[in-house]
Each structure stands twice: as C-alpha cells, then as structure tokens.
C-alpha cells in the first residue's frame, strides 16, 4: 500500500474538520473539529517521517499532542464558563467583541 493514501486520508480529515469549524455552532462540536484538524496534521507529519526515513516528523507529532492536551484543558474551561454565565454553548451567541 502506497504511503500516499495516508496523506489523502489526512487531507480528507483536515477538510472535514475545517468545514465543521466553519459550519457548526455548538462550541463542543467546533472544538472537536479543531482536534480533528490537529490530528490530521499529526497523521501527515508521521507519514512524512516515514517517507523520509527520519524521526523529525514523529517528534513534532508528540509536541502537537502535548499542545493539544493543554489546549483542551483551557478550551473546555472557557466553554464551561461561558455556558455557566450565558446558558448557551452556541458560539454565535458569544459575539460581544464588536460592541
């Protein structure tokens, strides 16, 4: 099996994630879509590492996971706080910045 297929899969997953971020309103879903995009990127990094026969890509994938874990903690905390104060998890409701 050609390693290219992993890259195609990565591209498809990234697109699904990107579309999800733009289209969906629920903050949790948007959040999950971002995770999907990150993991799509991870997949392509690992694939490139395999293609080139070096470990660089795999190392960077670990970094991405660490950063993603931190981001989940902070992001979920923000979503929960917004939900508590506004009784809504819709990201369109949190559009006060323009005023």
């Amino acid at each position: 099996m050609s390693l290219d297929n992993y890259l195609y899969l990565s591209a498809i997953l990234f697109t699904i994630g990107a579309v999800g971020v733009v289209v969906r309103r629920n903050a949790i879903v948007v959040f999950m879509c971002i995770e999907l995009m990150l993991n799509a990127a991870n997949l392509s990094l690992v694939t490139f590492a395999r293609i080139n026969g070096t470990l660089d890509g795999q190392v960077i994938a670990f970094f991405t996971m660490v950063v993603a874990a931190c981001e989940v903690v902070v992001g979920l905390a923000i979503i929960v706080t917004i939900y508590r104060s506004r009784r809504s998890a819709s990201i369109d409701d949190a559009s006060l910045l323009k005023r």
Binding site: A18, V21, V22, R25, V30, I91, D92, A94, S95, L96, L97, K98, R99
Partner: protein, 629 residues
C-alpha cells in the same frame, strides 16, 4: 594701542546694580535705589579717572582697549568681546554716567511714592550698563549687543506703568519701530562681514579706502536706517512722542539725553564709512534736514508739555544728524551739540517732571500758567535750559547750534544754501515753540482750577536740575573755547581742507539771532500778550490740526504698513486654515474613514474570523505553490 584692564568696571558696576536689584526682588526694596545710584556714581567717578589719565597722554596714544574674551573664532574670522575707550567714547561715558547719576538722584524723590521703585532703578542701571557697552564696544557686533540692551531697557521703562493699556501699547510701538532700525544695523554688520571680512571699527576703517563705493554705500545706508530707528528720525520717528508714557526721569535720560542720540554716535563712529560713500552721506543730511523741520513743526502744535519737549528732541537730533552728514567738518559739532543738548534737554525734562510733580501729574500746558511764583527754582533752571536751546549767547546751545548752522552754510553750492536756510528756519521755529512752552507754563496768567496746589519740588529733585542748568549755561563755552572740542576729536577723523566761507561767522551768528528773535517775538505776541485758552481751540486751520496729529505720521504708517500688513496676515491665516490645516485634517479624516470602513469586517462572530483565517491560509499556500512551481 595701549591696553587698560579697568575699562570693564565702567560697565560692570551698573550691571551689578541691575542684577542685584532684579535678583533680590522685594528684599532690596529699602536700599535698592541707593545702591543703584551709588553704582551709577561710581561708574561716573571711574570715567573721570579715565578722562584725567587720557588728558595726560599724547593725542595719538589716547585710545585704550581691553580684550575681555574671544567671542567668536571661526577659521580666519575672529571677534573679540573687547572695549575701546577713545576721545569719542569718553564724551559719551561721562554724559551717560554723569547725567545718569543726576537722574538717579532725582528719581529717588520723584519715584518715592511708587511701590515698584526698586524695579525702576534696576532698569535704569540696566540701561546705563547697556548704553556704556554700546559706546565702548570696539566692533559693530559689540555695539549691537549694547544697542539691543538699550532698546530693551527703553521698552521696559516706557511701559513701566504697564497697568495702563495705553502705556503698554506705547512701549510696544517703540520696540517694534526700533526693531526696524535694528534690522538695518544687523544688515550693515552682515554686509561688512560678507564683503570686508571684518566687523571691528578698525578693520572696517582699514578696508574703507579700497572697498568699492557700492559696498560702502550699502553699509552706510543700513547704518543710517539703524540710526533713524534709534534716534527717532524721519521716517521712523513716530514712536518718540508715545514714549513719553514712561516716567519723566526716563524721558529725560533715555529719550532726550542719551539713548536717542545713539544714532548720532553710530554715524560719527562710522565716519570712515560715510566719508567713502558720498551718496549715503547725502542721505544722512536729507534725513537730518527733514526731521529738523518735522520735529519743530510738531513741537509748535503740542499742548502736552512732555510731547512738546519730545518733538523738540526729535528736531534737535535732526540738527545733529544733519551735522554728522556734513563730513569731517561737521562730526565734532554734531557731538558737541549732542553734549550740550544732553544738558539742557535733560534739565528741561526734569523741570517738566517737577512741574507735573507740583500739579498732580497734569501734562496739558493749557491747564498751567503763572507757575513762576510757585516754582521759582524750577522756573529758573527750566529758563536757563530754554535760553540754551533757543541759542542765546553765551548759553550752551548758541555755540553748538551756531557752529552747525555755519558748517551747513559752508557745505558749498546750492546744498550749503538750502541746508543753511533750513537750519536757520529750524532755529526760528525752535525759538517759537520753546517760548510758547515757557510762556504757557510759567509766565502767562494762571489757568488751573482751585483744587491744584502747585508747590516747589524737594531739594533732591531741584539739585540735579540746578546742576544740569549750570551745565547748559557753561558747557557750550567750555567746549567751544579755542576750538578745544574740535581739536580733541580731530585725531579720530580724516583731515579736511578749510571750506570757503559763504558768510563770515559773525554774520551767520547775527542771522541766527535774528531768526531766534523773530520766533520769540511771535510767541510772545501770540501767547503772552493775548489770552491763552484753557482748552485747545477746535476751530483751527487744517495745518494746525495736521501738526497736532504729529503730521499724520501714525496715519501714514497705518495706511502704508499696518493695513497692508494686516491684509497680508489675514490672507496668510486663510491659507493656513484651508491649505495647511486642511492637509492635516484630511490625513486624520482619511484614517478615520478607512477605519470605519474596515470596522464592518469585525462582526464579533468567531466563525467569520475562522473563515477569514482559512481563506488567508489557503491563499498563502496557493501563492507559495504558484511561486515555487
């Protein structure tokens, strides 16, 4: 030239007084006037010492210098801050400090009720220091420092009672008109530097012979403009009348005896320039002749005693300027008239101050009359000054003015006849308006109301007046005796051949005295033998009305300079508003407009930001892809 390291003390003493009084402020209120007077007197005593040392030396060795420090040193161009005391400056040093000290003494009493007396004395000392620097500087640049200094002191003292807006305006007017003259002086310095490469008196004198006549004419005309501004000559004369807003001692010291004669000093000091530039010299004579008549005519119409005296000052300085424009023959007489004028005019101004002191500061001569009985000392001192100014022998003015008339007549050809006639007419008019002042103030019947209690001034005031009166009696004879003064100044000027005499001196004197007698007679008939109105009559000829308005000098200035200047500035304001401010405001508006347009993209919806980021990233990748393949 010999050096003398003591010259600086002449200036340092009054400067120290001025700084002390100004810096200590109210703390010096109790003794400030005494310190200032002592400083001025000390400077005078020091000047006398210098004179006696100078008299001991041979004529060629008399000038002494002192280098204070190197002021400017750029490549080959060097200007030292240096002082020069020669036969000419010593006259001025003694006049300034001598008359200055007397006026300090007078002011102690005259200003005793003024709560700002300390500030007044500080300014007086500042004036003395600046004026001494003016006459002691050994280059045009040093002179310029003193020149500006006296302008400042004059401004401060004219506006001394600046609580009255009219007085503050008068000081501003004097300052602005003086600035025009100052521009002339700075241009003269620039031309001398650019074309001769030196600004010292001795340097310019060396170059005067081989420089082109055009250069010397340019320098001469610029120096004349400077003299015209400072000495209130035509056409920059309008400020002197208003300068009488200052306290009377100031009018006596600055606007009669010393500062306004600085223009004469400048021209006589620059004799080498004018000798090398006949056209500029002719212009000097013309200015002098015009002002001589101009001032005299204004003097005939003024009812304000100080303004009448101011017009007379203008006219007398016209005599001096005229004499200094007559070349080597006239320089000595210009300075001689300047010295005698310093005595009698300062004396008369102090007399006017004494009259005002006794009359509750009334200045209108139509509200005087019969004061001879109430102020005998003032009457006598003023009267001696009066006899001196109209030129009755053997009083001071006779010698000095007679010599000017004689020199003018002997100037040769039509020029001599015209100038001689003008000076003779001037003498007649002088006699008329001074007699008018004398009669209206002292000898005509009283026209003041019963609230007035005229009284003689205290001794502190009349003693200086008496000393000046003695000076106006004897100074002319002393200076004239054996042509002493002419020989004293001779080493400074070029030799001149004896002129052919148009008329023998005795005839000239006779003519002058006849003119004086006519002037006096008309004034006596008009004012002593007939009633004087206590209010200025309204139904007078157009000529009188014009003369009362200072021969329209303010109207001319207003029409020629002020209105166009105002139009120019308001046009510039419009340009500034529309073009300059328009550009500035336009930039602001542009930023504001583009900002409010771009603001619409900030919706606050996270998803729209996400789309924008996505589009941005995608187009970045696309761009890289396009570039690399």
């Amino acid at each position: 030239m010999a050096t003398n390291n003591g010259l600086v003390y002449l200036i340092a003493l009054p400067l120290f007084g001025a700084l002390t009084l100004l810096l200590l402020g109210r703390k010096a209120d109790k003794w400030g006037h005494l310190l200032a007077t002592a400083m001025s007197a000390g400077s005078f005593a020091f000047g006398l010492v210098q004179l006696s040392q100078m008299l001991d030396r041979e004529a060629e060795l008399r000038p002494v210098t002192q280098k204070l420090f190197t002021w400017i040193s750029v490549g080959s161009f060097n200007v030292d801050a240096a002082l020069l005391l020669d036969q000419l400056s010593i006259c001025f040093v003694l006049l300034i400090t001598g008359v200055g000290t007397l006026i300090h003494i007078y002011s102690i009493s005259y200003m005793s009720h003024d709560e700002d007396r300390r500030r007044f004395f500080a300014y007086l000392n500042l004036f003395i220091a600046s004026m001494l620097l003016l006459v002691l500087g050994d280059s045009y640049l040093n002179l310029y420092v003193g020149w500006e200094g006296v302008g400042l002191a004059s401004y401060l003292l004219i506006g001394f009672w600046n609580k009255k807006p009219a007085y503050a305006t008068a000081s501003k007017k004097a300052f602005v008109m003086n600035r025009i003259g100052d521009m002339g002086l700075s241009f003269a310095i620039m031309i001398a530097f650019a074309s001769l490469g030196t600004v010292s008196f001795s340097g310019v004198k060396e170059h005067a012979h081989h420089a082109s006549e055009a250069t010397m004419t340019a320098i001469g005309i610029m120096l004349l403009i400077a003299a015209v501004g400072k000495s209130a000559q035509f056409p920059l004369q309008a400020w002197l009348g208003d300068a009488m807003a200052g306290p009377t001692p100031v009018s006596a010291l600055i606007h009669a005896a010393t500062m306004v004669t600085a223009g004469v000093y400048l021209i006589v000091r620059s004799n080498f320039v004018f000798d090398a530039a006949p056209n500029a010299q002719l212009l000097v004579v013309i200015v002098g002749a015009i002002t001589l008549l101009f001032g005299a005519i204004i003097g005939m119409a003024k009812d304000d005693i100080k303004k009448a005296l101011a017009a007379s000052t203008m006219s007398q300085i016209g005599y001096m300027i005229l004499a200094s424009g007559l070349g080597p023959a006239g320089y000595a007489y210009a300075i001689m008239h300047l010295l005698t004028h310093g005595f009698f005019k300062a004396g008369m101004f102090l007399g006017a101050g004494s009259v005002m002191h006794g009359m509750n500061d009334e200045v209108d001569m139509r509200k005087y009359g019969g004061l001879r009985k109430f102020m005998p000392i003032t009457f006598v001192t003023f009267g001696l000054g009066y006899l001196a100014i109209i030129g009755v022998p053997p009083f001071a003015g006779f010698y000095s003015k007679d010599m000017i008339i004689e020199t003018a007549l002997n100037a040769g050809g039509a020029k001599g006849i015209i100038l001689g006639t003008i000076t003779l007419i001037g003498a007649a008019i002088t006699a008329f308006y001074m007699t008018r002042v004398m009669i209206m103030t002292f000898t005509s019947p009283k026209r003041w109301d019963d609230n007035q209690h005229p009284h003689e001034s205290p001794a502190l005031m009349w003693i200086p007046m008496a000393i000046l009166a003695i000076g106006s009696v004897i100074s002319g004879y002393l200076l004239y005796q054996g042509k002493a003064f002419k020989h004293w100044l001779e080493p400074l000027f070029e030799k001149h051949g004896e002129h052919t005499e148009l008329l023998p001196p005795i005839v000239v004197s006779g003519l002058a005295l006849t003119m004086v007698a006519i002037g006096v007679a008309i004034a006596v008939i008009k004012y002593q033998l007939s009633e004087v109105d206590s209010v200025a009559p309204e139904k007078v000829s157009i000529f009188t009305r014009i003369a009362r308005r200072d021969l329209l000098q303010d109207d001319v200035n207003e029409a020629l300079f002020m209105r166009p200047g105002q139009a120019l500035t308001s046009a510039l304001v419009k340009v500034d508003d529309s073009v300059v401010d328009g550009a500035v405001r336009g930039v602001g508006k542009m930023a504001l407009g583009s900002g409010s347009a771009l603001r619409k993209t900030q919706t606050g919806f996270v998803r729209s930001y996400a789309v924008l980021i996505l589009i941005g990233a995608a187009s970045l990748i696309a761009a890289i892809w396009v570039v690399t393949t």
